[in-house]
């Protein structure tokens, strides 16, 4: 099957090469090819824009990449909008969508059979994947304009809406846009953090216009709200611990969420990117509470004390020093934030030194993340782009990929990644996922009023890799929060951790990805599980999907 995928990618790449006039293709530069057209599915991201500009229309098209049927192939789920002002999925064009990966580069729309159309859940935004009941099947949490939705994966290809019995509620009319699963108290059960934006209904929607031209209102016309934390009690029940945990004290306009253990104390912390409000970094106090420490860590604002329109967020170690760093994007004219973690004590703003300031200011970013797209062992910066509004010639924008050069600086390689990658649009959600299990991350991106792009990495530079699928026993079954340290035979060390949350409104491949460059062998792989157990594997072969089960002790 792997060989077939490679052949298909070459075919498509060849067609593009001919169309481009016979230029010599880059043999060492992976590129992306959209294969969405090969599958029969109706989903388009539909925010119901018909002239009237409702505030939530700008945020539509969450993506999740997960293996819902445990067949070893990652499947895809997309959220969708609703009819406005009714705020209902009045017909099929607004339905959410589950695509089963059949292999061979095609997908089957199994939404109805799975019970995930979402007819009753209104306008949907973000989606978070996690096995909250540790039954071995990934579940889904959907953020909506109305009540949020928890779907339990029944393990037979169907899902059941268990929101009501889960106890997950939120204050009336709060707009939830993104969520992340993580185990904040290391009790082996995944908890849930939900990023909320504001209080909104179609009836309270504000109209903003200048000279009769309507535009999407500035966020400041809407109130800030608290993000919400739900503690997993087991048995499918959750307790809202927003206030007791300290989350309730901080009011923001939440967008993307990044989960990582920023200070290395074995407990997961939470970064929330806020739109036009300072960003939050909730440091886990290891007693069920969090301290908002954005000021202390220097990530609340940029280096001039300015809050920007922070959008997507991700936390990974881009310089391979063992500490998770931080990346958020924002709108055109601003500068995307790249922060380097200094020994787990605070963050240094490195957008300038790394050239991110130069590279980013032309783009309005939404979903984003660290992704080692070329498997060289350095995590690159991806962003899905497009203006908030359609007000000018440059509103439709292409995605960007900034390639990491030795962990110090980045260079823009977007134009080298193929025409499918460079297609301009109003891109929104994105997920990193290895759809064909060839060890090179693929990309799935939604765009307003368009079919999603399912972009396969050409995987043709010969670099090696390792994918690690963690299965927790004392820890949560997904292993979310597990910290991995990989040492190659040459002594090079690489770091990553298990999370499904990155970017904005999206959920990525749970499997931990390592690019190894030219190295074919791994001296050791150390896994520090959320339970505290440390597991070390020696002499691991490269170029494999390695499933690791947490030991008893």
């Amino acid at each position: 099957m792997k060989r077939w995928w490679a052949a298909a990618a070459l075919c498509v790449a060849g067609a593009w090469w001919l169309a481009a006039g016979g230029a010599e293709p880059e043999t060492r530069q992976p590129h992306f090819t959209d294969i969405a057209h090969k599958s029969n599915f109706a989903y388009r991201t539909d925010n119901n824009f018909t002239g009237r500009k409702y505030f939530p229309q700008t945020m539509c098209g969450g993506v999740a990449a997960f293996d819902f049927d445990n067949d070893g192939l990652m499947d895809l789920f997309f959220t969708n909008g609703a009819k406005l002002p009714e705020l209902e999925k009045t017909d099929s064009r607004f339905y959410n969508c589950l695509l089963r990966n059949r292999g061979g580069g095609t997908f089957e729309d199994v939404t109805a059979r799975a019970g995930l159309l979402g007819k009753d859940i209104g306008f949907s935004f973000g989606v978070a994947v996690g096995d909250y009941d540790n039954d071995g099947y990934e579940d889904l949490f959907i953020c909506n304009a109305g009540p949020n939705t928890l779907y339990h994966n029944n393990g037979d290809g169907t899902f059941t809406d268990v929101t009501e019995r889960s106890g997950i509620t939120k204050p009336k009319d709060v707009l939830s846009v993104a969520a992340a699963w993580f185990d904040y108290d290391n009790d082996g059960k995944l908890d849930l953090i939900v990023s909320n934006y504001t209080v909104w209904t179609p009836q309270t929607d504000k109209i903003c216009a200048v000279n009769g031209l309507e535009y999407y209102c500035h966020p400041k016309v809407y109130p800030s709200v608290a993000h919400r934390l739900y503690h997993n009690l087991g048995n499918g029940r959750f307790e809202d611990v927003t206030d007791s945990s300290g989350f309730g004290k901080e009011l923001g306009k939440g967008m993307g969420i990044a989960i990582a253990d920023f200070n290395g104390d074995g407990y997961m912390d939470v970064f929330v990117a806020n739109d036009t409000v300072r960003n939050f970094l909730f440091i886990n106090q290891k007693n069920g509470t969090f301290k908002e420490s954005g000021y202390e860590w220097g990530v609340a604002y940029d280096d001039s004390g300015n809050a920007h329109s922070s959008m997507g967020a991700d936390a990974k170690d881009y310089d391979n020093d063992g500490w998770p760093d931080l990346f958020y994007n924002n709108l055109k004219g601003q500068i995307w934030g790249l922060f380097r973690n200094i020994d787990g004590k605070y963050m240094n703003y490195t957008s300038g030194m790394s050239h991110v300031s130069h590279l980013s200011s032309h783009s309005s970013g939404w979903s984003n993340g660290f992704i080692d797209y070329n498997n060289d062992g350095w995590k690159d910066l991806y962003s899905s782009n497009g203006d908030v509004d359609n007000m000018g010639e440059t509103s439709r924008q292409p995605d960007t990929m900034f390639e990491n050069v030795d962990g110090k600086e980045f260079r823009d390689v977007s134009a080298q990644l193929g025409p499918d990658f460079s297609r301009a649009g109003f891109q929104r959600g994105s997920a990193f996922v290895d759809l064909n299990n060839d060890g090179f991350p693929d990309l799935v991106v939604t765009s307003l009023d368009e079919k999603p792009r399912i972009m396969i990495n050409s995987a043709d530079n010969g670099n090696h890799w390792l994918l690690v699928n963690t299965i927790g026993r004392r820890s949560n079954r997904d292993g979310i929060g597990a910290a991995l340290k990989l040492t190659t035979v040459s002594g090079r060390t690489l770091y990553n951790h298990v999370t499904t949350s990155d970017g904005f409104m999206s959920s990525s491949d749970k499997r931990v990805h390592f690019g190894l460059g030219a190295e074919k062998a791994i001296r050791s792989l150390e896994i520090r599980w959320p339970s505290g157990i440390v597991q070390v594997l020696k002499k691991v072969k490269a170029d494999q999907i390695l499933t690791v089960t947490e030991p008893e002790r």
Partner: protein
Amino acid sequence: MTRSASISLIIALLGAALCAQQPAPSPESLLQHAIALHQSGDLDGAIRAYREYLAAVPDSVQARSNLGAALARTGRYDEAIAEYDRALLKSPDNPALLLNLGLAYYKMGRHAEAAARFERAVSVSPQFKEQVTLLLAVCYNNLGRYKEAVALLAPLEKDKAGDPGFDYLYGTALTGDGQEAAGTTVINRILSLGDSAEARLLRGTLELSAHDRDKARLDLEKAVALNPRLAGAHARLGELLLTEGDSERARDAFIQELAIDPEDFTSNLNMGVLAKQDQDYAAARRYFDRALKARPNDPGVRYQLANVDLATGNLDPARLALEALIAESPNFAEAHATLSTVYYRLKRGSDGDRERAVSEKLMGQRDTLQTGAKTR
């Protein structure tokens, strides 16, 4: 008439008036000789003669003042200023000396010092007000003290409206002060004489303030095309480009502005910010220092310098600068926020908590005031 031509005329007229006020000849022949040389236009000879005389009579205010004037006329402003300053030690309230000193500073583009001397001269001798009003207004415009410029110029509008030099000066003050309606009236007056870079610059400035970027771009690019040497046009275009995220073209625009006027505040400030973004902190400091020279004590520049200190790990200088800033400007929310981070880094947690609370309160109040919607 261009702005620079208009200002040159003002200076020439004022300079002539001031020359006419030179003190009467001394009985001493050396001084007489120096004055004669000065009046005949032999400035180098006059300077030598004044210096010779002052070697013998160092306390002569008249000779030192004349020496300053001769030095200024040869463009040796630093030396002129030194002579004026020494003369003022002997005669601190001498309005002619103050005016000449103000002019020397003005010619060097040191508008803060110039304005201070002009203001002092007028306070000592109100009859000088008419002579310095326009110069003082130029200084105020350059210092961003637009309200004061408007207050000086508004009474003159009735008589001077239609004079392109005056209209440009007044229009700059009005647009800088955000007085859209009055500014537009003046701009239209200038435009009634035909298209001009000055009018385009003023209108572009107003449009930029109103976030109408498309119109602002048209006008500012036209201003630059009509007169590439017009002071302020490249800087304003650079500001526009920055709002559009085009930092590379913005940088080019600021560099062009600085080639015209190395002391331009806006360009130095923004070049400093761009250098800071690049984490080229040494260059950022250089630009910020130059911006501070143009607008001494400017809180925005001092704040940026404090951020450079924070970024480079100089926590105590950052703390001192920020503490001074918030003592002067208690509502400077960003300064409180940054000071909070500095305190946390210095392990002064309770101080950090306090500043954070102040910052959040101020930002909350500011958000409340911004009730109107605006595009992003």
